[in-house]
Amino acid sequence: MKPFARIILFLCAVMMLTATVDLPDWADPGSPASTHLSPGFIEQGYHETATPNVVTAVLADYRSYDTLFESVVVFAASLVVMLVLRRTSTGTSRIKHFRPKREGRDTILRGAAQSIIPVMQIFALYVLFHGHYSPGGGFQGGVIFGASFILLSLCYSLKFAMQRFKEKMVLICCACGALLYAGIGAVCLAMGWNFLGYAGLAGLLGVTDVMARSHGILAVEAGVGITVMAVMVSLYYDLASGGDMEEGL
């Protein structure tokens, strides 16, 4: 098996190396990828959406269908993990511990977690809501917010984290984020614009079309952030406890 795989991979590598000759050079400004569509995004994006970060504008406005269904894919993944693993508790622990077996954790870890976690959550909210002007947005903010719950679970215990953020609540947050995203699109549709055409929000919010698109991007990013945060926590709960939600990492 192994020598055969090596031969096949070597042949594929040679074939693909010869194919690179026809591809454009490294960092060529005139390459096909940089000449057709993306200059339009850069040159018109600021005037149309009032968002200096072009990546956020393209992510949540020009390609918002893509982002909507990406968040639905992430949501579906958390449901699949739950369907595969979730089961009622058997009462027997099969865990090979990599952590102290004594009850709870020590004071230093708890104190550090107490001082770090609130700062981390505020930073996650900052990243989410400052995504128009700096690197960041829904995905990054959501992942950092979910990581704060993972840190809570690592420094205390899984039960303690699940008292704060219950499993049912996690699933509701998963669904609500995607629903918020789709709901914004439906509101735009009801106002007589296209699905996810944020200019339709201008009448409701009482602002110009450009600012309505900016606010629409913010609302959509919040939806993505909620979904991603809940999915990260859900993945951790399921995988760390082996599905029975008894005892985690």
Binding site: S34, S38, I42, E43, Y46, P52, V54, L85
Partner: protein, 129 residues
């Protein structure tokens, strides 16, 4: 010598992603342990993402966030910013990659639960019984 360096620099992003791609593919095909296969999948995925991002780089271009002159006028010149489109595609692909990793690990735990092992040959032996 300069020509040789230029030749290296001109195409090296493709070489980089190719090397990583085949390391990952070798891990996926030839490793016996299912966890190693999953780590190979992560490396394979990252190689493709690096290829995608690297086609958006331009000479002398900066990060794709609009800069402002001191008189608050935006600098809207397409050659001053990197191509934002690959960044958008990859941004979503990374988060979906974590979701894929989660599903793969869940299936791995289920295999461990059913067969009691994650070595490929032992699983095949267990299935033949």
């Amino acid at each position: 010598m300069d020509e040789f360096f230029f030749f290296i620099v001109a195409k090296y992003n493709y070489w980089a992603s190719l090397i990583l791609l085949f390391i990952g593919l070798y891990g996926m095909i030839a490793k016996n342990n299912l966890m190693k296969k999953i780590i190979g999948m992560v490396i394979f995925q990252t190689a493709i993402l690096i290829f995608f991002v690297s086609i958006g780089v331009k000479w002398g271009a900066s990060v794709p966030i609009i800069r402002f002159f001191p008189d608050k006028q935006p600098l809207l010149d397409a050659t001053a910013y990197a191509n934002p489109l690959p960044h958008v595609l990859i941004l979503t692909a990374i988060v979906v990659g974590v979701a894929v990793l989660g599903v793969a690990l869940a299936i791995l735990q289920n295999i461990q639960r059913i067969h009691g092992t994650i070595e490929e040959d032992e699983i095949l032996e267990d299935m033949r019984k």
